[in-house]
């Protein structure tokens, strides 16, 4: 699933590690989400949505 996580992170000048700390996940998890290797679970998707203060649909795009 495509997402804008990397762009949103870059706009706030956060590193992957800093974003990982805020989401309470590992840096590898953040990288896996950004590169599309891993789709976050609903709870994590909602945490990401709350962190960036925007709807999930504006962050993640269903390729289907």
């Amino acid at each position: 699933m495509k997402n804008r996580l990397k762009v949103l992170r870059a706009e706030r000048d956060w590193s992957q590690a800093e974003l990982a700390v805020q989401l309470d996940v590992s840096r590898q998890a953040v990288n896996a989400i950004e590169t599309g290797k891993h789709d976050p679970s609903l709870p994590l998707a909602f945490r990401i949505s709350r962190l960036f203060d925007m709807p999930i649909e504006e962050i993640f795009h269903d390729e289907g």
Binding site: D13, A20, V21, D24, V25
Partner: protein, 217 residues
């Protein structure tokens, strides 16, 4: 600066992870071999009642190679740089990993020392008899420690780590599904030596570790 050096490269990350994992596996095997050499050389000196220069040199070389293997694994940075901030869940999961490693090292040392004292210098890597007391203590440790560590581990890891762990576990199961009957049938036909459970265990762990480390990167 939007993209810092700690960001994992997207294009070459997967290939480098596999290569790094294989290097780590090789380094660990070489490290364990060096431990065996040190125990063996020490045992030889113990039996002869004298530490010869050859034994000292052997132990020293093995120690240097073992230290180099440890440095090699550290340099591979399989678990990410500690210079970056870590989420609390990541800190806890790494602590549990280190505790598990320490547990294994302690068991290895106990088995190795017991082997040397009982005249079986390679007892750590054999099926030689061990005193009942040591066996009971180690069995109790495994039965109690492993489940506790596993429960703590699975309650701490994030979803990405859980998926990687699950993938490794499935790969390990399939490895066991192939290795065990193949070896069993080969042994029955006289093609293979008698099956060794700890060799099967080691192979399954290696397969699990490779897939787990590759998936979590």
């Amino acid at each position: 600066m939007p993209f810092e050096a700690d960001d994992i490269p997207e294009k070459s990350g997967q290939v480098s992870t596999i290569w790094k994992t294989l290097q780590a596996a090789l380094a660990i095997v070489l490290f364990v071999f060096c431990l065996g050499v040190m125990f063996g050389a020490g045992s030889a000196g113990f039996e002869r009642g004298a530490i010869t220069p050859g034994i000292v040199i052997t132990i020293a070389i093995a120690l240097v190679i073992a230290a180099a293997c440890g440095w090699w694994v550290m340099r591979l940075d399989l678990f990410g740089s500690d210079a970056n901030p870590l989420a609390s869940s990541t800190k806890k999961s790494r602590l549990i990993l280190w505790l598990s490693t320490a547990f294994g090292v302690v068991i290895g040392i106990i088995m190795g020392v017991n082997g040397v004292l009982s005249g079986s210098p390679y007892g750590l890597f054999s099926n030689d008899a061990v005193p009942a007391g040591i066996a009971i203590a180690l069995i109790a440790s495994w039965v109690i420690f492993i489940p506790l560590i596993a429960i703590a581990w699975h309650r701490t890891i994030d979803e990405h780590e859980a998926l990687a762990n699950g993938a490794g576990a499935i790969a390990g199961i399939y490895a066991y599904l192939v290795i065990t009957p193949v070896w069993w049938m080969g042994e029955r036909a006289g093609l293979f030596p008698p099956q060794q459970p700890m060799i099967v265990f080691s192979l399954v762990i290696v397969v699990f570790s490779i897939v787990w480390l590759h998936k979590r990167a």
